[in-house]
């Protein structure tokens, strides 16, 4: 398979092209814009037969996604940060209408103050809008996740929109090697257009999104619950099939040197590479530590997280997002909830790093682990996040 030198944004665009997407409504926003640029180039060159709809805002972009997907088209869009916030209204509409749209989110900080730089606060705010969320850790995985996302979204037992998230700039603008099949039919065979969702069709009339009173709203809305349960299973099935076809293995979570580890450091997105490096350095010093990353954030893989943590002496979650009003990071909250549901009792420490793209160093993770293990041993576990890289 040929290797290309691609940023994660370009990896997204290549995957979208290979999935033969029909409609792409987009509005530019840093650091997403190069996805839209590359896709426009593909369409202009005749390499992709798709309708690019240039709209006047992200709210309109996602509205156009609703219309196009409701008409039966395979739809892709991308946004982040303020764009995602402006378009937020459409997120639960799309999951409620069960439209299998795929959206790339190169995650970026939120105003105010204005920041164009990367962190995951935008994604965390949009976590509970009923979308499936995959977080990628390298450009190759971005490419692979976009392809898998269409299969997951359009699966008849799922029919939910999917966000493919990754770090704004740190990944969206970093060139890395990506294996891209030279024959796009290989990808197209993997994501056949089955159109198994209800779409607007004069021969089979349906009403979409009508008013539902207290007598029906709950039942209609509840249908997303089993769909999300199914999504967990389908994410695993699609990953397995993807592995057979493309040789790269994915799961809901990923572990690194974890077999015999007393402690786990947990992260997502580009932080994963820092964790892997830190684990290697700590292992050299004889520290019994491993790494875990969350690939599937929604539906939260509760059992996979719980079984990975069962029997450990402690875990540290690094959230690249600053949430206030909760004393701990957003994914730390998710993980502790998963442990409680599964009745697994392991102490955890919440840490926050990379906010507004504050520079992260591998040594920060090494020091955090060493400090955290001391805390676990002494039983003096902080009740609030440790804020890394923050000037006093």
């Amino acid at each position: 398979m040929p290797r290309l030198a691609l940023t994660s944004n370009y990896a997204t665009a290549y995957a979208v092209k290979m999935c033969d997407v029909d409609v792409i409504p987009v509005y530019p926003i840093t650091p997403q814009t190069t996805i839209a640029e590359k896709l426009s180039e593909f369409v202009a060159n005749g390499e992709l037969n798709a309708e690019i709809i240039h709209v006047e805002s992200e709210h309109s972009a996602l509205s156009a996604c609703v219309g196009a997907s409701a008409a039966g088209a395979r739809v892709f869009t991308a946004t982040c940060s303020q764009g995602l916030m402006l378009a937020y209204e459409l997120l639960p509409i799309m999951s409620g209408l069960r439209l299998p749209v795929v959206m790339a989110v190169p995650c970026r900080a939120l105003s105010a103050p204005i920041s164009i730089h990367g962190d995951y606060i935008d994604l965390m705010v949009a976590r509970d809008a009923g979308w499936i969320i995959l977080i990628s850790s390298c450009a190759q995985e971005v490419f692979d996740n976009v392809i898998q996302a269409f299969r997951i979204a359009e699966h008849r037992d799922v029919l939910l929109p999917v966000m493919v998230a990754y770090d704004g700039f740190l990944m969206s603008h970093t060139i890395e090697p990506v294996e891209v099949p030279d024959d796009e039919n290989i990808v197209r065979e993997f994501v056949p257009k089955k159109r198994e969702w209800l779409y607007l069709d004069v021969d089979r009339p349906v009403t979409m999104g009508p008013l539902a009173g207290p007598d029906w709203y709950y039942e209609i809305r509840f249908q997303q619950v089993p769909a999300m349960r199914n999504a967990y299973k389908i994410v695993k099935e699609v990953a397995e099939e993807f592995y057979k076809k493309f040789g790269r293995k994915y799961d809901t979570i990923e572990l690194y040197r974890a077999e015999d580890a007393e402690y786990l450091m947990i992260g997502y997105g580009a932080v994963w590479g820092f964790i892997e490096e830190a684990v290697d350095r700590l292992r050299e010093k004889g520290v019994s530590i491993g790494g875990m990353r969350i690939r599937l954030l929604r539906p939260l893989p509760v059992d996979d997280i719980a079984s990975a943590l069962r029997g450990r002496k402690g875990f540290i979650v690094i959230d690249k997002a600053l949430i206030t009003g909760m004393p701990v990071g957003p994914v730390f909250s998710d993980i502790t909830t998963a442990l409680k549901i599964a009745n697994v009792d392991v102490p955890g420490i919440s840490a926050v790093h990379g906010v507004g793209q504050r520079t992260m160093y591998i040594r920060d993770f090494v020091e955090l682990a060493e400090k955290g293990i001391e805390m676990f041993k002494s039983g003096k576990i902080p009740r609030e996040s440790i804020y890394l890289g923050l000037r006093a």
Binding site: R3, L4, A5, P31, I116, H117, C138, F169, L170, M171, H173, T174, I175, E176, P177, A270, W272, G273, F274, E276, E277, Q357, T359, M360, Y361, I362
Partner: protein, 185 residues
Amino acid sequence: MSSRQEISIRWHGRGGQGAVTAAQVVATCAIMKGLYAQAFPEFGPERRGAPVKAYTRLSTRPIRHREPILNPDYLVILDSSLLELPATLDGARDDTILVVNSPEPPEVVKTRRFGKVVYIDATDVAMKTIGRPIVNTAILGALLKVLDLITLDDILKSLEKFFSGKLLEVNRKAVVEAYNLAKVI
């Protein structure tokens, strides 16, 4: 091939000089060759003339993290006035190789040690070949004098991914010209 597993290059230029593209050309070239590589800019608002930093890592193994390069093996300076900013030389080691756009050996070689110093009047080369002071491809030619893992031919080939037609031709010319004129001390 160097016995080292990883080569790090830090680029310093000014907005509009093409430092980010140069960083990407080298990484792309390595990836096309079957090596592992990564290139990214130090991200800030894009302003013409403002100092710009970019990073390239080349490796014989996959590169997992995206830490900025603190102690570069190669320090490439597209505008020699940037050497007056103390931050430009931050983290440079005694064996760091300095590649600088300058018609003369830069002043800084009198006051501190480097592994090697390569200098080239890249602005002159760019003006004569491309006709504009976009010095990134010329400075690449100078870097190639001292860079392991990648050859002049590799770079000339990978320029296809960035330029086409007349632009490809003049940029290739800039690389070759600078390669031939660069002085190593």
